[in-house]
Symmetry: C2
Subunit: 350 residues, 2 copies
């Protein structure tokens, strides 16, 4: 005999991203702001001048991608248990992508899931991690290999926080903005070619365009079963670069910049993109001092590392290849020899 | 400015529970059967005579509630990473509730979520944990405090596995069956009063009724925002008993049995249930040798422990109180003195 469990339901995970100066807000529940000492030192006073709560706690975890791990998650969870947080309590992620991913992940597993709000403080997290609900942590096997899809209740993007952002981190954010434009929006790409993102008004417009582009994609494919994979343009290669350099040499956006150049070269070799288009993307990346080259020591080892990517299966690798500018092809049928020839151009002997 | 992220979607987490002898099945993907040495020794040969896969792995974790923790989750995850499981791979939970909860939780966080199938081997997990998608693990703060809602792809209930089930574990399963009947189905309760669950045919019918009852509730309230909380009848008290006895003295179903008696006494004191009805439930529990009494050392400490329950908030405790038999009242407005007087009847000096 069979019992059917009908769980076809309308689930509303909708939320809003507010791009503006933070307005005062009060939460009538227990709230924990999760941040790191660096962000806290620079901006916590400003945040606390805006946010109040029934009970407000600050949880700090060490700063840096190398601390995006179980130990930091445990720091967050222990604090929630000690302060008897319950299912009505709220977490606020206050920092860059690492803080956002870990806070989201902790809120997804604490008592089977509580709400969280994002207040991203870097350009990268404002444009990319703020949309889509991907949360997680790294482990010894790789990046973001443990995690959950867990949407925030709301996101507040305040460019006030970017005033203290180091140059390299600014560039890393630009890389993801370029990614959105190349894959989905040629008009936006043309805008970026002439825009000066150091101008706060223009930057805010670019953030909005990037967020809107990503929102459109995620709304169509929340759990990354299809189209959303296109946002991994630059990431298939980038993840291997990060893995090989142990997440130390490059910021995530920098690795993605190199990865986009590699993906472009693959597209060019496959006749999907012209050399001029590939060059115009490279030029745009270089305008913001992003790296566009990388010395591959062993192209076969580089190729094998593709298979650890979450987007790959046992025997295939999913490549995200730009079709000209403003379009994208998701394929797991990329000729191995062709990919190796692309890698060879980055080889240490080339 | 604001960007709206529209994530109102129709999500289909529906699945089927098959109550029958296992039929041969082949999975064209990587599969890991997660089990413990005891279940493996008794029943793995039988399972392997039914299930084949493209690649099949066996992961064993230590047997027992005290191992339902991060260490065991890590054993499962490490094995998946070592065998390069990807998003198309599948886990099979093969064991009781502990195995089911941990396998479900591991599958919910591995690469942000992969599929899992449940093949429960105890009466408790067949009737209760098999429906509803609650997954999780314990930690030093309490039971199931870390976890996720993650629905299985399918569940297979084969009474073959119950042939080796110890008497006490059988009773613990009966407790959850009684819970379903008291809260939602008086006809089912009357059936149970005269039924001999040791008869395999009658047992299968009782399992089906229990599963169907729970399925109806979960279908209306997957994430436990309302009605589903009724299934925690006996659990508000039971969790404190488990906590106080450090999960060693009682099986989960046994603690729930005592908890139901406590909830019934509360209902009687509030005029929600007659003494005769409370007695008929107690009699049914005792028919299957379930414990119905517990010596509370300190009623105030017992009361304070309620607040750690996931169903409680900062200042209120949610009680699930039977309304006669076949009905239930979910309330967080239970007079503290009245509850203390119920606890006092179980007090060490009473």
């Amino acid at each position: 005999m069979q019992v059917h469990i009908p769980l076809k339901q309308v689930v509303d995970n909708s939320y809003s991203i507010t791009i503006d100066s933070l307005k005062p807000v009060h939460f009538d529940t227990k709230v924990a702001i999760v941040t790191n000492p660096k962000v806290a030192g620079l901006h916590l006073a400003y945040l606390l001048s805006k946010i109040t709560a029934k009970e407000l706690y600050i949880i700090t975890v060490p700063d840096g991608e190398e601390y995006k791990n179980q130990d930091s998650i445990n720091i967050i969870l222990e604090s929630l248990f000690n302060h008897k947080f319950n299912r009505n309590s709220l977490l606020i992620a206050f920092g860059g992508g690492v803080i956002g991913d870990m806070t989201g992940y902790a809120s997804s597993i604490y008592q089977r899931g509580i709400d969280f709000v994002q207040i991203p403080t870097t350009l990268l997290s404002q444009t990319d991690a703020s949309v889509g609900g991907k949360t997680g942590m790294n482990n010894s096997y790789g990046k973001n290999l443990i995690g959950a899809f867990h949407q925030p209740k709301s996101v507040y993007i305040d460019s006030h926080f970017l005033s203290t952002l180091p140059e390299r981190e600014f560039g890393a954010g630009v890389a993801e903005i370029v990614k959105m434009a190349v894959t989905f929006n040629k008009t936006f790409f043309n805008f970026l070619q002439t825009a000066d993102l150091k101008d706060p008004i223009i930057l805010q417009e670019a953030i909005k365009q990037a967020v809107q582009t990503k929102a459109d994609v995620v709304a169509q494919d929340e759990k990354e079963k299809g189209l959303r994979a296109a946002l991994n343009y630059g990431h298939t290669f980038g993840h291997v670069i990060e893995n090989e350099t142990k997440y130390k040499k490059y910021l995530h956006g920098e690795a993605v910049a190199i990865g986009m150049v590699m993906a472009n070269n693959t597209s060019v070799k496959m006749g999907l993109m012209s050399e001029d288009e590939a060059k115009s993307i490279k030029d745009l990346l270089q305008k913001y001092s992003l790296p566009v080259s990388y010395e591959i020591e062993d192209i076969n080892s580089f190729y094998e590392t593709f298979f650890l990517d979450k987007k790959s299966s046992d025997s295939t690798i999913t490549f995200i290849l730009p079709l000209s500018i403003g379009g994208v092809k998701i394929t797991d049928e990329c000729d191995k020899e062709l990919v190796l020839s692309v890698l060879k151009d980055f080889g240490i002997d080339s």
